[in-house]
Subunit: 392 residues, 2 copies
C-alpha cells in the first residue's frame, strides 16, 4: 500500500425528506447564497420548492443562476462569479447533477481568486480558498457531492479540464434517494456507467501493485451498483435500490477506493472528455463506449487485473488469464448495452471516420493529464476497438 | 437503507516516516500541547523520539502525561485535565493504542467543560466542544484515530463507559504502519479480533434489514483483516500486511460500515466491557471469548445473517442456514484460537463459576447501552457458551 492523505470533511445528510435541513446547514456560514441549478428539471420534481422553502425558513436570501447544462461551460462560470460578487454571497448552493455541482465549485473558487478562474483548470494556480459549497444532488453518478473535483469545458477549442482541491469539497451535501425516482432509465444507466468507471479506473490504473483491500472494496461497490441498477430499471421508484446506488456512487469517487493506490490515473475519463467536448454526448454515454474497449486493449498486454475483474464480477472460471480478461471486457460491454447505454462510437452517433480527429484532440489532454503513454497511436487503437462488435 | 449522517473530518496521513509531519499539523491550532501516552513502549520503538522531534521542529511546547494503561481509567483523565489546565494547552496529542487516544479525547472534552467529565460518559451531558486532538496510533485496532468515541473505566465499581461526539474526532491522525513491526503476536491477534468485532457488530446488529452494500464492504474488510493477520503472524515486519491491517481496522469502525444500517448496536462490546472491567483482561481477548459464543446464541434463533457470514467468509456450502450459521461461529472461534487469542472464559483466566456475577455486572451496562433485551438470563446463556468447547 502506498502512502496517502485521506481528508474528506464533507458532511453527508442522507435520507428521504432531508432537503429541508439545507437552510439550517448554511446558516452558520452566512445569509446570502448563489443558487446554481440546471434546466428546470429540479422545478418539475419538487426539489426546487424544497430548497427554496428551506432557505426561506432559514432566513437565507438567494440569487439564482439557472441554466447549467451537461458538460458545463466556462462562460456560465464567469457569469456566476460576476453575479456572486455583485450580490456579495457567502456561499454557493448547487442542485442537480455533476454539472451543477462542478459549476458551483468553479464559481466558489473563482469568487475567492484575484485572477481568471481558468488558471486553476490549467494547473497554473492552486486553489487556496473558496466560498463554502452546499450540494443537493439529483443524479447519483459524479460523486461531486463528496469530493473536491470540478470539470468544466471551455467552449473555445472545446477543452474540458478539471480542477481539484479540498477547498472545493462541499461543506454539506444532502442526499435524498427519492429525488432519483424520476430520473429517466437512460440517465439511470449512464449514472451506473459513470460510477463503475470511477471505481474501475483506480482498480486498473494505479502504481501500488496488489491492493487486496481496495480491490475488494471496489468489487463490493461495483456489485452493488450493478444489482441496484438492474432493480432501478425494472422499478424506478424502489427506494432501497436508489439509496444503494446513490451512496455507492459517492463511495466510488470520494477518495476511499484510491487511498493507498498511489498514483491512480483516469485515462478512460481523459479520452471521454474529448468525446463529450467534441460531440456534446453525455459523459456516461462516452464512458460506456470507451471503457470496455480500453479494457480489452490493456488486457491484451497485461491481463492479470482484468482477469481478476472478470472472475470476481462475472464469475468467469476455467479460463486462462487472457481469456478471462477479454471475456470480462466483453461481458461488461454486454451489460452496458443491456442497460441501454451505447457501446460503440456508431451507437453514440459519432462518425467512425472521426477516430483520428478524436485521437488528435485527446492528445492535447494527455499532456495536461500527465499520461504520456497515451500517444496518438495508442488512442487510435482504443478508439478503433470502439467501432467493432467485440472490443477484443 | 436507513437515513444517516456521515461526517468524518479527521485528516489521515498514512505512510512510512510520516510522524515527522505532526508538528506542522498542530501549528495552526496552537503552540502548547498535552502529550498523552502509555507505559513506555513508544520510547522503546522510536515513536516517542519522532514525536518529540517533530514538536520541537514545529516550535511546539509539551507537557507530558505518561502512564496510560489498557482499559484506561478515569483518575488519569482527571489528572490530565488538571495538568492541561495548569499549562494552558491548545491541543492534546495521543500516542499509543486506543487507551491513549481515548484518554486524550476524554481530557480534551473535560478541559472544555465546566463540570465533571464523567457526566459525558453517563450521557447526562452532551459534548459541545473539546480541545483539538492529534493522534499517532501504534496499535491498529480501536479506530479511535478516526472516530469520535472514547471508552473510559471508572475504578470505583469497575464501570467502563463510553462517550461519543464529532468534537472528539482527532483533527489529524498519522498512521505509520512500520511502527506496528514491533507489536507482539499476541497484541497483533487481539487487534484483529477487535477490528473484526467492530465490523461484525454492525453486520449482525442493525435495524436496516438487508443491506447488500454494507455487508459487502464489511466482508471485504474482514477478509483483508484475516489475510493480513495471517501474514503478520508469520512475518511481523511485512509492511503491506501491517498497512492493510492498519487501514482496515480504521475503516471497520469509522462510521463507513454502519452508515445506512440504522441503529447499529454493540452487545458483544457491552458484555466485553464487563469482562475487562472486572478482570482487567485486554479488550481483544474478551471479545475473542465472547463473539463466537454470542453468534452461536443468536444464530440459533435467527440464522439468516449468520449463515451469510459463514458462507461469505468461510466458504461454507451445502448446508442449511442454521448449520451454516453455527459452523460460521465455530470456524471463527477456531480462527481466533489459531491466532493465539483465548476463546473460552477459562482460557482467559476467568473462573467458570463467575458467570452469574459477570451477567449481573453487565446488566447495569445493558441499561446505559439501551439493550433491554440483554436480560441477566440472556447474558448467562451467552456466557455459558463461553465455557464449552463448541459455542453452539
Amino acid at each position: 500500500m502506498e502512502e496517502f492523505i485521506f481528508h474528506n470533511p464533507t458532511k453527508i445528510i442522507f435520507g428521504r425528506g432531508k432537503i429541508g435541513e439545507l437552510g439550517k446547514e448554511i446558516r452558520p456560514v452566512g445569509k446570502r447564497v448563489l443558487f446554481v441549478y440546471g434546466q428546470g428539471s429540479i422545478r418539475k420534481y419538487g426539489v426546487y420548492d424544497q430548497i427554496v422553502r428551506s432557505l426561506e425558513d432559514g432566513g437565507i436570501e438567494r440569487v439564482e443562476l439557472p441554466g447549467v447544462r451537461p458538460n458545463p461551460v466556462l462562460s456560465l462560470v464567469y457569469r456566476g462569479i460576476e453575479r456572486a460578487r455583485e450580490a456579495g454571497v457567502d456561499a454557493v448552493v448547487a442542485a442537480g447533477g455533476g454539472s451543477s455541482m462542478d459549476t458551483a465549485k468553479a464559481i466558489a473558487a473563482g469568487v475567492a481568486a484575484d485572477h481568471d478562474v481558468w488558471e486553476f483548470f490549467q494547473f497554473r494556480k492552486t486553489i487556496k480558498k473558496a466560498l463554502p459549497v452546499f450540494a443537493v444532488p439529483t443524479v447519483a453518478a459524479s460523486a461531486s457531492e463528496m469530493n473536491g473535483a470540478a470539470v468544466i469545458t471551455r467552449e473555445e477549442g472545446a477543452r474540458k479540464f478539471s480542477a481539484r482541491s479540498p477547498h472545493l469539497n462541499p461543506r454539506t451535501s444532502i442526499l435524498d434517494p427519492s429525488v432519483l425516482f424520476s430520473l429517466s432509465p437512460t440517465y439511470s444507466a449512464y449514472s451506473a456507467v459513470d460510477a463503475i468507471t470511477h471505481a474501475l479506473e483506480g482498480y486498473f490504473n494505479n502504481t501500488a501493485g496488489e491492493s487486496a483491500l481496495q480491490e475488494r472494496l471496489i468489487e463490493a461497490l461495483i456489485r452493488t451498483i450493478m444489482e441496484s441498477t438492474e432493480i432501478i430499471l425494472r422499478d424506478p421508484r424502489n427506494y432501497d435500490a436508489r439509496a444503494s446506488m446513490m451512496w455507492s456512487a459517492v463511495l466510488a469517487f470520494n477518495g476511499l477506493t484510491t487511498a493507498g493506490l498511489g498514483r491512480a490515473t483516469l485515462p478512460v475519463h481523459m479520452m471521454e472528455h474529448s468525446l463529450s467536448a467534441l460531440y456534446d454526448i453525455p459523459h456516461g454515454a462516452g464512458l460506456s463506449i470507451l471503457l470496455p474497449a480500453w479494457m480489452a486493449f490493456r488486457a491484451a498486454g497485461d491481463p492479470g487485473k482484468f482477469a481478476r475483474f472478470g472472475r470476481a464480477i462475472f464469475g468467469i472460471e476455467d479460463w486462462d488469464d487472457l481469456s478471462a480478461a477479454l471475456r470480462g471486457a466483453r461481458f461488461l460491454r454486454a451489460w452496458f448495452g443491456g442497460i441501454g447505454a451505447p457501446v460503440t462510437l456508431q451507437e453514440g452517433g459519432i462518425p467512425e471516420g472521426d477516430v483520428e480527429a478524436i485521437a488528435e484532440h485527446a492528445l492535447a489532454l494527455a499532456g495536461v493529464w500527465q499520461l504520456p503513454e497515451y500517444t496518438k497511436d495508442v488512442m487510435i487503437e482504443v478508439l478503433r476497438r470502439c467501432t467493432i462488435p467485440f472490443p477484443g
